[in-house]
């Protein structure tokens, strides 16, 4: 081994950290370019960031009591299906 273990470790740290930073910096540039291109050529319909797609379905917004009842039913349903009907 021409290098000491410590020297190898130092090399690895420097190159490794440098590569991580360069790669992610490149990704920043590429992502920004991508976003710019998308927003220019295919502007999206605005949608709030914190709202995943499924929340749209929830927009009918049942009252908490209804949700509680439904949740209970689902839990009971799941529990029932999870039960060991016949001993496999």
């Amino acid at each position: 081994m021409e290098e000491s273990l410590l020297q190898e470790g130092l090399d690895l740290m420097l190159f490794g950290m440098l590569t991580v930073v360069l790669f992610l910096a490149l990704l920043v540039l590429a992502t920004s370019a991508l976003s710019a291109a998308v927003r220019r050529f295919a502007p999206p319909a605005p949608a709030p960031i914190a709202a995943p797609r499924s929340d749209a379905a929830a927009a009918t917004d049942p009252s908490p009591a209804v949700v509680a009842a439904i949740t209970a039913a689902i839990v009971r349903h799941r529990h029932a299906t999870a039960r060991r009907k016949e001993g496999p």
């Binding site: 470790g9 130092l10 991580v20 999206p44």
Partner: protein, 434 residues
């Protein structure tokens, strides 16, 4: 009466040594932490339980047929195995084990066959280990599921936070250097591969840590996985003091600009962009990031809901069960109760601390250079530990300003940290693996 003697000889009490007893205690401790303290229970419950199972004396659940046969008293078989390994017939089990590990694949298969012919079989935990970890498949499937659960929206709204995810990986490399330095100083006996696998604990990403150590340092896998998941659970204790020490109250009060909405097309194209960059520049990171991007694409593309749901539910849960038990199978006394394990635990917490500090400091630097304000607290989320670290940022931020919700802003560096440590893992595997 021979039955009674056979039962006693086979019983755990007859075979129990101090190491196994301690490791069963370690397994129970992990279960306590997982269940009572809610330390990453999804992994630590299976790991802890697997650790107990692996240390049941006489059951040999974590051993191959060959390893089991070394515990058995069959002298003729042993002489045969020793002869094939080129050792004298009275070689110790330890000597046979060592020779086996450095033997080639063909000879190993032949020895396993001889042990099986003599009636020994592979333990069930070993079989789980071989399929999920030795093959590399388990962590990759988990990573696919994590990808299918990851929302890149906040990252896309503020791509600069990728730099915070990069900065926090300094914890990985600093720890690598620390491990190497301690080895050079003669305190421990870590190779460069070992040091890299230990450093990855600082990536705060369980599947990445398991994947890297399964390739670079399989012997340390148990300790590394336990350290990684334990410290991920301890993020709410480890990070806040460091975050407070490195920031002023004014900095912690900084209110960030509302994130812009991100459309579906951007969300679909981002994993493909990342994949192409990885393909061109860092193929060593392709297994981890490829599966991660695949999961995310299934999530975002909107046409394969069935597959996305399977990746996020049945598949990841089933894989987690077997991956956890397999990691637990590495918690055997001979490999865990070593002085090195203390070093791994100590270095692991240092890695988290350095990563946190690096993330916060770079965020402060970016704040100086840019006019768009960044609250430096969110730099701490760059270590990943998704979503715990982001929640910690939010909580520490609320202490300073009760109306300043940082959660969404911290999710950007948080998922960037996943990418960052996968990149670091790819570099290490490329340079040190094989």
């Amino acid at each position: 009466m021979s039955d009674l003697a056979a039962l006693w000889a086979a019983s755990g009490l007859a075979g129990l040594d101090a190491g196994a007893a301690i490791m069963i205690g370690v397994g129970l401790l992990l279960l306590y932490l997982a269940i009572r303290k809610e330390f990453e229970p999804l992994l630590l419950v299976p790991i802890g339980f697997g650790g107990i199972l692996a240390n049941i004396p006489g059951a040999d659940l974590a051993l191959t047929a060959f390893e089991s046969s070394l515990h058995g008293g069959d002298a003729a078989l042993r002489a045969q195995l020793a002869e094939q390994l080129g050792l004298p017939a009275d070689a110790t089990g330890k000597a046979l084990s060592t020779a086996f590990e450095s033997a080639g694949v063909a000879l190993q298969a032949s020895l396993e066959g001889l042990a099986q012919d003599a009636g020994y079989s592979h333990g069930v935990l070993y079989q789980f280990y071989r399929v999920t970890i030795a093959s590399g498949v388990g962590p990759l499937v988990i990573f696919m599921g994590v990808g299918a659960m990851t929302d890149f929206g906040p990252l896309l709204a503020n791509p600069r936070t990728l730099l915070l995810g990069a900065a926090a990986q300094f914890g990985i490399f600093a720890t690598l250097l620390g491990a190497v330095a301690l080895s050079s100083a003669g305190v421990f006996d870590f190779t460069l591969q070992d040091a890299a696998a230990i450093g990855i604990i600082g990536g705060a990403d369980g599947p990445t840590a398991i994947y890297v150590s399964s390739i670079l340092a399989p012997d340390l896998l148990g300790a590394i996985a336990v350290a990684a998941y334990s410290y991920m659970a301890l993020v709410p204790l480890i990070q806040p003091p460091i975050m407070r020490a490195l920031t002023t109250r004014a900095e912690r009060e900084i209110v960030m600009v509302q994130l812009r909405p991100v459309g579906q097309l951007e969300r679909i194209l981002f994993p493909l962009l990342l994949l192409v960059l990885v393909a061109l520049l860092l193929p060593g990171a392709a297994p981890l990031l490829g599966m991660f991007c695949f999961g995310n694409l299934m999530r975002e593309c909107g046409v394969v809901e069935r597959l996305s749901a399977a990746a996020q539910n049945a598949l990841i849960n089933i894989t987690t069960i077997f991956l956890g038990l397999s990691v637990g199978s590495k918690l055997v006394a001979g490999k865990f109760l070593e002085f090195e394990t203390l070093g791994i635990l100590a270095l692991g917490v240092v890695a988290f601390a350095i990563g946190t500090a690096a993330g916060v400091l770079i965020a402060k630097l970016m704040n100086r250079l840019s006019k768009t304000p960044i609250n430096p607290l969110i730099g701490a989320a760059g270590v990943s530990a998704v979503p715990m670290a982001a929640r910690v940022c939010n909580r520490v931020g609320l202490e300073a300003n009760p109306h300043n919700f940082l959660l969404m802003h911290a999710m950007g560096p948080n998922v960037a940290g996943v990418i960052g440590s996968a990149v670091a893992a790819g570099i290490m595997i490329t340079l040190l693996g094989g």
